[in-house]
C-alpha cells in the first residue's frame, strides 16, 4: 500500500517536473541588426541584436564567409568589442573583399539564424574622434581669437595616405545651445575669430574619411575669452551723455520759442470778436438756439405789441448820403458796416464804428414812418434786415443828433447803421431780431450821460415791451428822453458817447449827455438829434430826428443843454431822464419803466411810454453778460 502510494507520488512528481521543464522554453529568437564598423580600414567589429533567448541560456555565434570561398569561419573574438559583438583583427581583415556574415543564436531548444549581411570593409569606415584637441586663446589682447588644433585618431593611418580624413570643428558659448560648425578640410588646425568678449566657449572636433562615416564628436574643450572690449561701456556712456545733453538743449530751445513755433505751426484762427459770444455755441449751428441765447425770450416784443411799438416808435430820418450807408446794412454782417465806416478804430467795436458814423451821418429819418415800416417789416422773423433797420432806426433815433429828415428809407438806412453801432447786435441781438420778435423794434436807444451810470446798465430802454428788454443786448443806448418825443434824443450824445464807448469796447464811459459823441464821434459827423415824437402808450417813445441844434455839442463838453439827462438809472431797467430845461420840449424821453417814469420828470407825453420802456439796463446786463457791449455802457457811465 505504501509502495503503491510512493510510486504514484513519484510518477506525479516526474510528470510535474517534466511538464514544468517543458513550459516557457523555446528556441532563441533570431538575432537582428547586424552592423559592422571599421575605424581605420584595418580591423572591423560587428554587433548584433539578440532576439529572445527563449528562457534558456543562449549562445551566439558569428560565422562568416569570404567571397569566392565557401569556407565558413567563426568570429575570432567575441570579447574585445563587448557583448554581442565580434571583433575582426587585422589578421582576418581584408579589404576589397566581401564578407558574408551570419549570427546564430543557440540554446538548448534550438538555434536561430540571423539574416546574412554582406559587407566590404572599405565601405564601413567610421574613424574614432580626433584626439588631443587643444584650444588656445591667442595672446593678442586687442582682438583675440581661438587657435584650435588636434590630432587624427591614433589608429587611423593618415600618414601613408591609407586613410584620408576630413575634419570639422564646432563651437558654442557655454550657456547657449547653438553650435557653430566650421569645416577644416584636411588641416589639423583652425583659427576662429569674432569672439564674444569674456565668453566661455566649448570646442569639439570630428573627422570623416573620404568615403565613410563621420566620427563622434571629441570631448568638449573649454576656453574662456578674456575681456578685450572694455572701452565699449565707456564709449556708450559717453554717447548717452552727449545725446542727453543735446536733447536737453533742444528741449530748451523749443520751450523758449514755443509760442513762436506754435504760432508758426498752428496759426491762430481769428475768432469772433464779440465779447460774450460763445464761439462753440454759435458753431453748433442752431440758429434758434443761438438766437435764444442771445436774446431774451421776451425781448422781442410780441407781434401785437410790436406793431404798436413800431408805430409809436422812432422815426428816423436819414439824409441821402446816409442812405447809402444804410443800404448796405441789409445784412447784419459787420462787413457792411465796416466798409461803410472806415473810421472804425476798434475791430471789436463794430458798433462803435458804425455808431459814430451813424451818429454823424444819419439824420433823423421819419421816425414814425421809417420805424413803422421797419418795425413792421422787422416783425418778420426772417427779415433780418428789416429788423436791423428797425433797430437801426431806433438807434439812429437815439443817437442821431441831427435827425433832420426822417424818411423811411433813411431810417432804415440809419437803422442799418445802427446795427453797426451795435456790432454785437448784428450778431446777437439782431439774430434775435430775426426772430419773431424783433427786438429792435421796441427799442429806443438813447444815449445819455446819465444813462451810463456806473455799475448799472446804461439806461437802455429800448424795448418797447418788457419782454424785449432782455433780449436786447447790444449796446443799446439808453435813450434818455427828457420828456418829449420830439426832443432830440439827448441820448444822442449819450448815444454817441455810448457808441463811442462801444467802439471802445466797453472802455469808455460815455460821458453823459452832451458829449456822447466826443469820444469818437468827433471824427464823425455830428450826431443827430432824435426827437421823440411821441411816446407810445405802452412803453415806446417815438423819436424823430431833429435838426441838430447842438452839433457843437460833440465837443467834449459834456453837458449840452439840449440833451436830456438821465437823472437816475435804475439798476434794473430804468432810466430816468431828466428833462432839460433848455430843451424841455425837444427832449425826448425814452420810455422806461414805470417806476422810473414815475420818478422822472418826464413829460406826460412820455409817461405813457414809461411802461413800455424796457430799460436797456437789463439788456445791458445781458449784453454785458454776453460780453460785447459794453462794459463801458454798463459800468462806466457816470450818472448825473
Amino acid at each position: 500500500m505504501k509502495k503503491v502510494g510512493e510510486v504514484v507520488l513519484l510518477w506525479l512528481l516526474i510528470l510535474f517536473i517534466h511538464n514544468a521543464a517543458g513550459e516557457g522554453y523555446s528556441p532563441p529568437g533570431k538575432p537582428t541588426n547586424i552592423s559592422c564598423r571599421s575605424p581605420e580600414k584595418e580591423t572591423f567589429t560587428c554587433w548584433w541584436k539578440p532576439g529572445s533567448d527563449g528562457g534558456l541560456p543562449t549562445t551566439y555565434a558569428l560565422y562568416y564567409r569570404k567571397e569566392g570561398s565557401q569556407r565558413v569561419f567563426e568570429c575570432p573574438d567575441y570579447k574585445t568589442a563587448g557583448k554581442n559583438s565580434c571583433f575582426f583583427s587585422k589578421n582576418v581583415t581584408f579589404v576589397w573583399v566581401n564578407y558574408n556574415i551570419t549570427v546564430v543564436a543557440t540554446n538548448s531548444r534550438g538555434r536561430a539564424f540571423s539574416d546574412p549581411v554582406d559587407i566590404d570593409v572599405v565601405y564601413i569606415v567610421k574613424p574614432n574622434p580626433p584626439e588631443e584637441v587643444v584650444v588656445n586663446v591667442t595672446e593678442d589682447k586687442d582682438w583675440p581669437f581661438l587657435q584650435v588644433s588636434w590630432k587624427p585618431p591614433k589608429m587611423a593611418d593618415t600618414r601613408s595616405g591609407w586613410i584620408t580624413l576630413f575634419y570639422e570643428v564646432r563651437l558654442k558659448l557655454e550657456n547657449k545651445n547653438k553650435w557653430e560648425v566650421v569645416s577644416a578640410g584636411q588641416r589639423k588646425t583652425l583659427q576662429i575669430y569674432s569672439l564674444r568678449s569674456g565668453g566661455t566657449y566649448e570646442v569639439q572636433v570630428r573627422c570623416k574619411p573620404d568615403h565613410g562615416f563621420w566620427s563622434e564628436w571629441s570631448p568638449s574643450s573649454r576656453v574662456k575669452v578674456p575681456e578685450y572690449f572694455p572701452q565699449e561701456r565707456s564709449m556708450w556712456i559717453l554717447i548717452v551723455v552727449f545725446a542727453a545733453f543735446i536733447l536737453i538743449i533742444f528741449i530748451r530751445m523749443v520751450y523758449m520759442n514755443f509760442h513762436s513755433v506754435k504760432r508758426y505751426l498752428l496759426p491762430p484762427v481769428p475768432g469772433p470778436k464779440i465779447k460774450g459770444i460763445d464761439k462753440q455755441f454759435l458753431k453748433s449751428g442752431k440758429s434758434e438756439d443761438i438766437f435764444s441765447s442771445l436774446v431774451v425770450s421776451d425781448f422781442p416784443p410780441t407781434t401785437s405789441n410790436y406793431e404798436d411799438f413800431l408805430v409809436q416808435y422812432l422815426e428816423v430820418y436819414v439824409p441821402e448820403e446816409r442812405e447809402l450807408i444804410m443800404n448796405e446794412g441789409k445784412d447784419l454782417q459787420d462787413d457792411s458796416f465796416k466798409t461803410e465806416n472806415s473810421t472804425c478804430d476798434n475791430d471789436s467795436g463794430r458798433g462803435s464804428c458804425d455808431s459814430h458814423t451813424l451818429l454823424t451821418d444819419k439824420g433823423g429819418g421819419d421816425k414814425e414812418d421809417g420805424q413803422q415800416s421797419d418795425q413792421e417789416g422787422s416783425q418778420a422773423e426772417a427779415d433780418t434786415k428789416s429788423q436791423e433797420e428797425a433797430l437801426e432806426e431806433e438807434l439812429l433815433a437815439c443817437s442821431h443828433e441831427n435827425l433832420q429828415s426822417s424818411n423811411v428809407s433813411n431810417e432804415k438806412e440809419k437803422v442799418k447803421s445802427w446795427p453797426s453801432l451795435f456790432s454785437p447786435l448784428p450778431q446777437y441781438s439782431f439774430s434775435p431780431v430775426n426772430r419773431p420778435n424783433p427786438p429792435k423794434t421796441g427799442k429806443q436807444h438813447c444815449l445819455s450821460d446819465s444813462l451810463f451810470t456806473p455799475n448799472s446798465m446804461p439806461s437802455y430802454f429800448t424795448q418797447p415791451g418788457p419782454s424785449t428788454t432782455k433780449g436786447f443786448r447790444s449796446n443799446y443806448w439808453e435813450c434818455s428822453f427828457d420828456h418829449k418825443q420830439s426832443h432830440p434824443l439827448h441820448p444822442q450824445s449819450a448815444a454817441h458817447e455810448h457808441l463811442q464807448a462801444q467802439n471802445d469796447l466797453n472802455t469808455a464811459h460815455v460821458d453823459y449827455m452832451g458829449a456822447p459823441l466826443d469820444v469818437h464821434v468827433l471824427n464823425v459827423r455830428p450826431s443827430e438829434y432824435v426827437e421823440v415824437q411821441r411816446v407810445s402808450v405802452e412803453d415806446g417813445v417815438l423819436l424823430h430826428p431833429v435838426s441838430p441844434s447842438q452839433e457843437d455839442s460833440r465837443t467834449l463838453s459834456h453837458q449840452t443843454e439840449d440833451y436830456s439827462r438821465v437823472r437816475v438809472v435804475n439798476n434794473d431797467n430804468g432810466l430816468l431822464l431828466l428833462q432839460r430845461d433848455a430843451i424841455e420840449e425837444e427832449k425826448s424821453m425814452c420810455p422806461y419803466q414805470e417806476d422810473v417814469v414815475s420818478r422822472a420828470s418826464i413829460t406826460p407825453t412820455l409817461q405813457n411810454s414809461a411802461t413800455g420802456i424796457n430799460i436797456a439796463l437789463p439788456i445791458l446786463d445781458e449784453m454785458a453778460a454776453s460780453g460785447y457791449i459794453d462794459t463801458a455802457i454798463m459800468f462806466g457811465l457816470p450818472t448825473h
Binding site: 580600414k41 579589404v95 573583399v97 572599405v122
Partner: protein, 213 residues
C-alpha cells in the same frame, strides 16, 4: 620615390637660353593631387549610382551584393590590406591604377548604352551619371598617362583586362537589372581601388608637404 620632373612645356622653344618658359611645369605632387581628386569624384559617382539603383530596385529575396569575384577585373592582383598596399611601389601602384582605369572603358560604354533603355524609374539620372563617369575616366586616364611618364617605364605598364560581358546585358528585365547592378558594384570597388592607390601615391610624393597626409 618619385622625382620632381617638369613637364615639357609645349610652348617652350628649343633654344633655352633666350626664352623664358611660357608655362610653368606642374609639380608631380600637384598632379597627383589633381588625379586623386578626380578618382575621388569617380568613386563618389559610382556610389551614388549603386544607391540609386537600390532605391528602386525591387529586391526579391533579399538583394545580395553580387559576388565581386566575378568581376572582369578580379584577375588583377591588388593588395588586400594596408600592409600589402604600403609595400607596393609607386610605379606598381600607378600601373595598377591605370590598368583598372583602362579596364573600365568598355564596360562604361556598355553601361551607358544600357542605361538609356534601362527598365528603371531613375534611368535618366543613372544615364547622366554614367556619362559623367566616362568623362572623368577619360580625363583621369590622360592625367595618369602624363604622370606615369614621369615615373618610369614600369609605371606605364598596363595590364590588359578585357571585358567579356558583351554589349547586351540581357533580355528580360530582371536579368538586365541584375547585370546592371553587378557591373555597378564592380565599378564601385575598382574606382575605390584606383582612388586609394592614387591617394597613397599622393602622400608618398608629398614629403615636402607633410601636412596633407
Amino acid at each position: 620615390m618619385l622625382e620632381k620632373k617638369s613637364l615639357p612645356c609645349l610652348l617652350r622653344p628649343a633654344p633655352v637660353v633666350y626664352l623664358v618658359a611660357m608655362c610653368r611645369a606642374v609639380p608631380v605632387n600637384d598632379l597627383l593631387d589633381r588625379a586623386s581628386q578626380r578618382s575621388d569624384k569617380m568613386h563618389s559617382l559610382s556610389t551614388l549610382l549603386t544607391q540609386e539603383m537600390d532605391s528602386h530596385f525591387p529586391p526579391y529575396g533579399r538583394m545580395q551584393m553580387p559576388r565581386p569575384a566575378d568581376c572582369h577585373t578580379s584577375a588583377l592582383q591588388t593588395p588586400n590590406d594596408k600592409e600589402q598596399a604600403l609595400q607596393v611601389s609607386e610605379s606598381d601602384l600607378m600601373s595598377l591604377a591605370r590598368s583598372l582605369l583602362q579596364a573600365w572603358v568598355d564596360p562604361l560604354a556598355v553601361l551607358s548604352t544600357s542605361a538609356i533603355t534601362l527598365p528603371h524609374p531613375s534611368k535618366s539620372s543613372i544615364s547622366s551619371k554614367i556619362q559623367e563617369l566616362q568623362e572623368h575616366s577619360k580625363s583621369l586616364a590622360d592625367g595618369l598617362d602624363i604622370l606615369s611618364g614621369k615615373m618610369g617605364p614600369s609605371a606605364q605598364a598596363i595590364s590588359f583586362l578585357p571585358y567579356t560581358g558583351g554589349t547586351d546585358l540581357g533580355q528580360d528585365r530582371v536579368t538586365i537589372l541584375n547585370k546592371f547592378n553587378f557591373l555597378l558594384s564592380c565599378l564601385r570597388r575598382d574606382s575605390h581601388k584606383i582612388d586609394s592607390f592614387l591617394k597613397v601615391l599622393r602622400c608618398r610624393a608629398a614629403k615636402l608637404q607633410p601636412e596633407l597626409c
